[in-house]
């Protein structure tokens, strides 16, 4: 089951904050986050496990609400380099443990 990401697109100015959400209709085991710049390979950001653990990577952090089957990616004080498409990939509890990716959220950061 493909997770649903929202919003589809975000346009920001440098220094502004953004939140990208990822939700599933099924119980989740973990959530991956990747960023893909145009014409490039998706790059791993972080994996969140069951337990509501919050992780961070520079000024990018994420949370995982197991009960709501949701994860959110927080981008603080956005930099130009944050531009790209963000994908969440969800692993289902009792499933194959192969991440299923959402359609992505396009983030554009302007100077």
């Amino acid at each position: 089951q493909q997770p649903v990401q929202s919003p589809q697109a975000v346009i920001l100015r440098e220094g502004e904050d953004a939140v990208i959400n990822c939700s599933s209709s099924k119980a989740l085991y973990s959530v991956h986050w990747y960023r893909q710049k145009h014409g490039e390979a998706p790059v791993f950001l972080m994996i969140l496990l069951k337990g509501g653990e919050q992780k961070g990577h520079d000024k990018i952090s994420a949370s995982f609400n197991e009960k709501k089957q949701q994860s959110s990616l927080y981008l603080t004080a956005s930099q130009l380099s944050y531009s790209g498409t963000y994908f969440c990939g969800t692993e289902m509890s009792g499933g194959s443990y192969i991440p299923t990716f959402g359609r992505g959220t396009s983030l554009i950061v302007h100077p």
Binding site: Q2, Y29, S30, H32, Y34, G39, E40, A41, P42, V43, F44, I47, L49, F87, G89, E91, S96, Y97, I98, P99, T100, F101, G102, R103, G104
Partner: protein
Amino acid sequence: DAGVTQSPTHLIKTRGQQVTLRCSPKSGHDTVSWYQQALGQGPQFIFQYYEEEERQRGNFPDRFSGHQFPNYSSELNVNALLLGDSALYLCASSLEPGPNEKLFFGSGTQLSVL
């Protein structure tokens, strides 16, 4: 340390033809997964290879087949190409199969079917 490498970078084929895409995993990785990414979409899982066996398969027809070699490199073969097979094909490697494995993606092969 070379990351995941894929070849070719671009390919143009006509309907009905067959194509082979190649992938070399990141050094030390023995698990290779293939994904299809249509324009504006997220990567869709095709299959995963580990120890030269297809370990998992997504919802793709038998026209899509693969192989993993003893050096862990992998091939994706697509027979009887359709226009809808036009997409970016991504290879991803990981340390091992199983949950919570970080995926390292290659830059992909852009396949156009005319």
